[in-house]
């Protein structure tokens, strides 16, 4: 298969999160924050390149919102090029990873960063459709590709 974006820009990774004294204190509650959600998904591999979504700036911490009170997590992602045909697959991978790694109380929304992809609306619609996501995960071939993306970190 020919690569769509042969030479993507590669960015540096952020450093590992430092463990603070509060995190080691049993009596303090650590709320789930944007950095934690970012850490869950930043290592997801790009389906085309042996690079993580973080290194390609598909995912950025600033584009993640977490609302603990209303139990909402919203992740915006930026495909590397506006015509990227992998956008849905990347969105699906992020969605699956978050479903598996976040507590069930959260409603997870994964969308394309507005204005960064040609078929932004249709991709967003697909990702928001629970039935379609569930059906996609039944597809053995698709789940294999998604597993490859989310496991390799």
């Amino acid at each position: 298969m020919e690569l769509e974006n042969v030479n993507p820009n590669v960015y540096n990774k952020v450093n590992e999160r430092l463990i603070t004294a509060e995190e080691q204190d049993d009596n303090v509650v650590d709320e789930i924050d944007t950095r934690e959600v970012f850490d869950l998904i930043r290592g997801i591999n790009d389906p085309e390149h042996p690079l993580s979504l973080e290194e390609l700036h598909v995912l950025e911490e600033s584009l993640i919102e977490v609302d603990n009170d209303r139990n909402l997590v919203r992740v915006l992602y930026t495909p590397t090029i506006p015509h990227c045909s992998m956008a849905t697959l990347i969105g699906l991978s992020i969605h699956v990873k978050l479903l598996r790694c976040l507590p069930g109380r959260f409603k997870v929304t994964v969308e394309i960063n507005p204005g960064t992809h040609a078929s932004e609306h249709s991709v967003n619609k697909q990702l928001a459709d629970k039935e379609r996501v569930a059906a996609a995960l039944e597809n053995r071939h698709l789940i294999k590709v998604i597993n490859q993306c989310i496991v390799s970190n």
Binding site: V29, N147, I150
Partner: protein, 947 residues
């Protein structure tokens, strides 16, 4: 005179060539010759029918027998005359059928090893060999024999081969040309350089070089099993000296190396650089001067494009350094042009934001290293530029990069030459001094480190200026990197200018406890550099201010621990009469010291080191001199901390010395009555040390009885503590009484739950007072015996109302070898599962988890068998409320089941339970637990999914 001859053909007819009988017969013949029962001529005559048979098979057999017999002879068994005759015979035989040749070659090799081998024999033999035997058509072993013949001639008959002149060279080249077997090549290349240097190659030198250079670079790729122990590296290592054996090869060799350096193969580059580097020791400077431009261009390319290949980069730099060093003495225009070329190229990259800055810096360092001329050139051309850049650049990282590079170059120069000889370098120390007082810690650290590196080149003015700043560094707490850099600088300056540093140290103003701690840390670094400084520290220890003494003793302890050489310490301490002065001071202040148990512990540890430095006789004198004073003082004043002094004197004593002294009774009294926990533990350990090392059973019984008597009236915690240490001492030496004390320990579990910790203490080997370093007895497998015995007792005494028994088992699991756990796992699993169900303390639970996790990581089948027992308990504990660490450890074990690689059908039935249970952990209040749960859940998710 000689025995009746028996026909050898008749004997050997029955014997196959490769049988033991054949060897036996040959041995017999050789022995007869050595014993003068026969002569070699008799043997040849007797073998005549074989040796002259028309069938080459028989001739081969006959020659083989003869060669075998000769090879078994001692080196002086044959006379000159006999050797003349046999040599002629063998020379002639080289013309024989090709199947006969291998046997002939073996014979020739054996003949040449004879002491009386005739002069001229070699020439004759080699001429015949060159003429009649085509070496490369022989088999591997026979070719090896031919090379052995050459080597032998080179080592013992070099005059003959020299006199053969070019005939030999030609024959030799023809023989070795196109050898392919790596074993033969390693052998051949091993002595080829010597041969090339011995014989004159004349017009054949190019042929010789060609023959050898065709192997360069070695490209040998055979799997480890097939390589017969020969590696590419081994071949490359022996080939390089052949290529640079003589100066005549210079031009060809440099050309070849340059050509291969340009190739894209990594090994070609490495081999070429190696050859060039080696050539610097052999080839003349003219050869290098002739190629200097190309060499610089190629090496420069390698350094600049090494991109992280450290091996190529460092070898290229070493080669550059060697070449510049080789041609430095010429001082010709070509050399100067090369240096200008190097510095001109480098100058372009000396901006800190340049991609090639670091590589350029390394090149300049390599050239500086080469010779004085080259170093001066680099400094004149580049240092002013770098100093200027350092002043101009504004960001800290850029300043750091430039400064570091600048100092690296100057440091190389200052190692061999005087910094003040060069105008360009005069400002460098000042620059370092300025950096050392800057605000930014990294610059400050670099400045201090540089002052340390250039310590020999610092002028008095600079030093005096620095001592002013040093007063601050000696007492003010700094960032870690600054502190380390200052310590480095302080060590260097103290080593070179002790007399100047000492007053600075003596005059330091201490205004707070923090200052004192920083100051003592500095003294630890330099205490042993000079007697005066050690004396200064020691005076601080035994001064009137006990607060200073506390920190000073802590420092002194660290000084002793850092210094491992016993002889050094012994001499040092004798010089100061250290021990007596110290003990006198302690006695004079004993009452004041009673509240300072932490300091006294340090004093005790210092004393331990001192005592262990002495031999048995001296130890005995020390104890005799001081022991009674300690006992008397305690009797008079009842001072608890005297136990530390006693422990310092006793703990490290040799067993033979200790047995001569009775244990003072008051130690038990201190142990059972003191209010200080430190004193109490020290007393326990001291008693244990006695019990473990004493030889006299009576004395041991006396102590044990005294302990039992005195511990009846004390609180249970002390009783348990004392019991633990006594048990440890006895168990370690496998004393008959140990079972009784183990049972006592087990029975105390019901009354006092913390007694469980004692089981860990017994098995823990980290205590100095009961270590082999303190000359304690440690029997083999004592841990296993203790574990077996105590588990048995615990099993009998187990009581459901307390978890102490289970905690005791848990603590032991942490300390005993895994093999013992595995052996007793079936009995232990009951306690482990009960422990996981009922224990609520963090430490014993963690101990169980650590043990089980280790088994999981090693994919132990036991964990597979007990998955049904263990996994549900791990899942339950993954929601353990009281401690996040228990939750983390439990999740780690759950994860371990997924990653260990157990058969899928064993673990898969638990998947849905695990996913649900870990799903709850994803909402854990602690982030660390959530992170572990996420990882574990992912492993379980993908366990049976396609990837």
């Amino acid at each position: 005179m000689f025995k009746m001859e028996i026909s050898y053909p008749e004997i050997f007819k029955q014997v196959p060539k490769d049988s033991d009988d054949f060897q036996l017969q040959c041995n017999k013949l050789s022995k007869d010759i050595v014993d003068k029962q026969k002569t070699i001529l008799n043997v040849i005559e007797n073998l005549n029918s074989y040796l002259t048979d028309p069938s080459h098979h028989k001739r081969e057999y006959g020659t083989h027998i003869l060669s075998e017999v000769i090879s078994k002879l001692s080196s002086d068994a044959l006379s000159l005359q006999e050797l003349h005759f046999i040599n002629k015979f063998y020379t002639d035989r080289l013309r024989d059928h090709h199947e006969v040749i291998p046997a002939v070659l073996r014979g020739v090799l054996a003949l040449m090893s004879q002491k009386n081998y005739p002069d001229g024999g070699c020439t004759e033999m080699l001429s015949s060999l060159f003429q009649n035997v085509s070496c490369q058509q022989q088999q591997r072993g026979d070719r090896y024999n031919i090379y052995c013949i050459f080597k032998h001639c080179l080592e013992f008959r070099s005059d003959e081969i020299k006199s053969m002149g070019l005939d030999f060279v030609y024959g030799f080249i023809s023989a070795i040309d196109s050898e392919k077997d790596p074993r033969n090549l390693v052998f051949l290349f091993g002595w080829l350089p010597q041969l090339i240097r011995t014989v004159s190659l004349g017009h054949l030198k190019e042929e010789m070089f060609e023959t050898v250079s065709c192997y360069f670079p070695i490209d040998f790729r055979v799997s480890a099993q097939d390589s017969m122990g020969i590696t590419r590296e081994a071949l490359a290592e022996v080939l390089a000296p052949c290529l640079c054996a003589i100066d005549d090869f210079a031009s060809d060799c440099i050309g070849l190396a340059l050509e291969k350096l340009g190739s894209s193969m990594r090994i070609a580059k490495l081999d070429s650089l190696n050859v060039l580097k080696m050539g610097c020791g052999v080839f003349s400077e003219e050869s290098f001067l002739l190629h200097s431009t190309e060499l610089w261009a190629s090496i420069q390319k390698e350094v600049y494009s090494a991109s992280g290949d450290y091996e190529i980069e460092s070898l290229a730099l070493d080669t550059l350094s060697a070449i510049v060093s080789r041609i430095s003495s010429s001082n010709t225009d070509t050399f100067k042009a090369l240096l200008s070329n190097i510095t001109d190229t480098s100058k372009l990259n000396l901006r800190p934001d340049a991609k090639l800055f670091s590589a350029t810096g390394k090149i300049l360092e390599a050239v500086t290293k080469s010779s004085k001329v080259s170093a001066e050139h680099v400094i004149k051309q580049c240092i002013p530029l770098m100093m200027n850049t350092y002043q101009i650049v504004s960001t800290i990282p850029e300043r750091l990069i430039v400064f570091q590079q600048l100092i690296s170059i100057v440091a190389i120069y200052s190692k061999s030459y005087n910094l003040n000889e060069m105008e360009e370098l005069k400002l460098i120390p000042n620059l370092c001094l300025q950096a050392a007082i800057e605000d930014h810690p990294q610059i400050r650290a670099l400045g201090l480190k540089s002052l340390g590196i250039l310590h020999n080149a610092l002028s008095e003015e600079i030093r005096v200026n620095f001592y002013k700043s040093m007063r601050v560094y000696l007492v003010i707490k700094q960032e870690r990197i600054v502190r380390e850099a200052f310590h480095h600088c302080l060590i260097q300056l103290t080593s070179s200018y002790t007399k100047e540093v000492l007053p600075v140290i003596q005059e330091v103003q201490i205004s707070s406890e923090d200052d004192l701690i920083v100051f003592m840390d500095c003294l630890v670094e330099i205490a042993l550099i000079s007697d005066d400084i050690f004396q200064f520290l020691f005076q601080k220890c035994i001064g009137d201010d006990l607060n200073t003494s506390t920190h000073a003793f802590s420092a002194l302890k660290q000084v002793f621990i850092k210094q491992e050489s016993v002889e050094f310490l012994e001499n040092y301490l004798q010089k100061f009469d250290f021990l007596n002065v110290l003990i006198d001071w302690v006695f004079s202040k004993l009452e004041l010291l009673n509240t300072r148990d932490k300091m006294m512990k340090d004093v005790g540890e210092v004393l331990r080191v001192i005592v262990s430095c002495h031999n048995c006789d001296k130890q005995r004198i020390i104890v005799e001199k001081h022991l009674n004073r300690v006992i008397e003082l305690f009797g008079l004043n009842k001072i608890d901390v005297s136990v530390f002094v006693l422990s310092g004197l006793i703990v490290r004593l040799d067993r033979a010395v200790l047995s001569d002294f009775r244990m003072p009774d008051f130690i038990i009294e201190i142990a059972t009555k003191t209010t200080s926990e430190l004193v109490q533990v020290e007393a326990f350990q001291l008693i244990a040390n006695y019990l473990n090392k004493l030889d006299s059973e009576d004395e041991i019984t006396r102590i044990l009885v005294a302990i039992e008597t005195s511990s009846t009236n004390v609180d249970i915690a002390r009783q348990v503590g004392l019991c633990t240490w006594v048990t440890k001492a006895l168990v370690m030496r496998s004393h008959p009484q140990s079972d009784k004390w183990i049972n006592l320990m087990v029975s105390s579990l019901k009354m006092h739950a913390p007694a469980a910790m004692g089981f860990k203490i017994v098995l823990d080997e980290s205590y100095d007072a009961l270590s082999t370093k303190s000359n304690c007895q440690k029997r083999l497998l004592y841990k296993q015996r203790f574990f077996t015995q105590s588990t048995k007792s615990i099993n009998e005494a187990y009581d459901e109302t307390t978890t102490a028994h289970l905690c005791a088992i848990a603590y032991m699991l942490e300390e005993i070898p895994q093999t013992v756990i595995k052996m007793q796992f079936e009995q232990l699993i009951r306690f482990i599962s009960l422990g996981l169900d009922t224990i609520t303390e963090l430490k014993p639970l963690t101990a169980i988890f650590t043990t089980l996790d280790n088994l999981l990581q090693k994919k132990d089948p036991l964990m597979e068998s007990y998955i049904q027992t263990l996994l549900p308990r791990f899942l339950k504990l993954s929601a353990f409320k009281d401690s996040m660490y228990v939750r983390c450890s439990a999740i780690m074990c759950v994860s371990g089941y997924a990653t260990a690689g157990y058969p899928l059908h064993k673990v898969l039935p638990f998947k849905s339970d695990v996913i649900v249970a870990l799903g709850k952990c994803l909402d854990d209040p602690k982030r660390l637990v959530r992170n572990k749960a996420v990882a574990a859940r992912m492993y379980w998710y993908i366990m049976d999914e396609p990837i």
